[in-house]
Amino acid sequence: MKVLVAVKEVAEATDGFEIDGVDIDRRHLAYGLNEWDEYAVETGVRVAEQFDDAADDADAAGADTEVVSVTIGPERAEETVRTVLAKGVDRAIRVWDDDIAAAELDVAAKTRLLAAVAAEEEPDLILTGVQASDDEFGATGVSLADELGVEWAAVVNRVEVDDALARARVHRELEGGVEELSEVDLPAVLTVQVGSTDPRAASPIGDGPDAEPIERRGLADLGLDAGAVESPFRRTGASVPDRGVSTTYFDGDTDERAAGVADLLRDEGVVDG
């Protein structure tokens, strides 16, 4: 059983951020592992552990399970990749080069890059987060499945892999407290929802001096050229949203503001006293 987990280092807007041109001013961005990917990693590691345990029980020699992560990102992202290695991922691949750095990485471009890595790795299961918290496209996983010609399921919060039958049973989280139960043939790409498992803390092992090196790939290594990351998208503007609701702010010291809220609650008739 081989699992490939696609993870992204995401940018988060820090308090008091400013916009510069068509994006947040870089000085106001903090980087880290995408929240959804944390669950994808945990799901992948758990699936692998389950196969390892089953092999141990059967006294089979070597379960032959591996969890590999792939990330598209600059050198800075290696810090994030290390945290993933410390959470039980066996090997990590980072895709980047100057052409990729210069591109507007849209869903199609990411799809081509990840598909090339998947073609090399030949995983049984590919996991991604439902969405990345920065650009919130929520599309790469399912697009990748189509590119690879394999099955998929989006917004998954429970997975049971049946290796013998080469299929996975999943719960898809729909709107309004309803889940869909589905079955997909393997190999498959699943996009994993937050809350689906309890992600483990990073263990210090993966961080040591003899930590696994992060394998690097550029377009040429993947048999692609700059055409693979050409994009028809052009960012034309960025602003702070204005929903047209005017907000009344309570001023003063903490007690004065609290008194303002208390008076409002009394006026609204939702509290007495």
Partner: protein
């Protein structure tokens, strides 16, 4: 109305367990505006289930034709992806518009990739002047960006709740679309549904909700919120991460995957205001937000705001009722 001109937009309806979902009618509004800008007809597709009844309901103002695909009972992504792709090939629209619902997430990217269409997901605004420019949010709704697409045709998914629904009756032509699918041969199967998040509390009925978010930081700190709830007689609800962490019962979760609430007062404490949370509470009569980040998107929809540290504001508020 006769539907035989150029198809500017093909929109795909969303339904589940026998009901068209609201986003279908909002999508019509978005699609009609886009079709007018592009100059051409608006066609809709409805796939699986009771398609004839759905098509009649979708025959609203501005729709030129509704194509029905009478295969399968419920959403299945293999069916949706194949039927949508076949319709695009048949109709050759400039724009393919799908909902950014959980089911939309499960087939729209596959269709776009299969047809090699650029995909803009989760659009909150669309304009067209010789080319598409879409508005979408980023960074947890803190920033709104516009993106131009220099290619046609293109695919878009639209966010629910952003366009008003169209429900005035229309004069669309309803056309069965011959599409043969052998569902038993699909590599995916939908086996059923399960309701989750039931529980003792019914936050949907409460008139005053105190709703707590990840700003609370630690489970132990919830005692502070329990004190506030007791002092005010409010009902406790929350954003998703607290439920994901196992700190609160799923029945208390407000939002897209939790409950929709419409209390008289919704007091959001340490909640950023992500779109999936807002989907569950924007119908509240009065929204009050307490957050230490003045840029938190929750302030974009709050009627009243306190910019401040909840660990100072909440104790002071409790004191007001002692």
């Amino acid at each position: 109305m006769s539907a035989d001109g150029d198809v500017a937009v093909l929109g795909v309806a969303d339904h589940r367990r026998g009901e068209l979902r609201d986003v279908s009618f909002e999508l019509v509004t978005a699609c009609r505006e886009l079709a007018d800008a592009v100059g051409g007809e608006l066609h809709l597709a409805v796939v699986a289930g009771d398609v004839e009844r759905f098509a009649e309901m979708l025959d609203v103002e501005g729709v030129d034709a509704v194509h029905t695909v009478d295969e399968g009972e419920e959403f299945n992504h293999d069916l949706y992806a194949a039927a949508t792709a076949a319709l695009v090939e048949e109709l050759d629209p400039t724009a393919l518009v799908m909902p950014n619902s959980v089911n939309g997430l499960d087939y729209a990217p596959a269709v776009a990739n299969a047809l090699d269409l650029p995909l803009v997901s989760d659009a909150v605004g669309l304009s067209y002047d010789g080319g598409l420019e879409a508005t979408r949010e980023m960074y947890g709704s803190k920033v709104e960006t516009t993106v131009a697409v220099d290619e046609e045709p293109f695919a878009v998914t639209v966010r629910g709740g952003e366009w008003p629904p169209t429900d005035a009756p229309g004069e669309a032509e309803i056309r069965p679309f011959a599409f043969d699918a052998d569902e038993s041969a699909f590599p995916s199967r939908v086996l059923g549904f399960e309701e989750v998040g039931g529980g003792d509390v019914d936050i949907a009925d409460a008139e005053f909700l105190v709703s707590i978010g990840r700003g609370i930081e630690e489970e132990e700190n919830l005692d502070l919120i329990y004190d506030l709830v007791e002092a005010t007689g409010a009902t406790l609800s929350s954003s998703r991460p607290l439920v994901d962490n196992g700190w609160l019962d799923p029945a208390r979760q407000v939002g897209q995957s939790g409950k929709q609430v419409t209390p008289d007062v919704y007091l959001a404490i340490g909640i950023s205001g992500a779109v999936q949370h807002v989907a569950g509470m924007k119908g509240s009569e009065t929204i009050i937000a307490v957050n230490d980040d003045p840029n938190a998107p929750i302030f974009d929809i709050a009627d009243y705001g306190v910019v401040g540290d909840l660990f100072e504001v909440v104790p002071a508020l409790i004191e007001q009722f002692e």
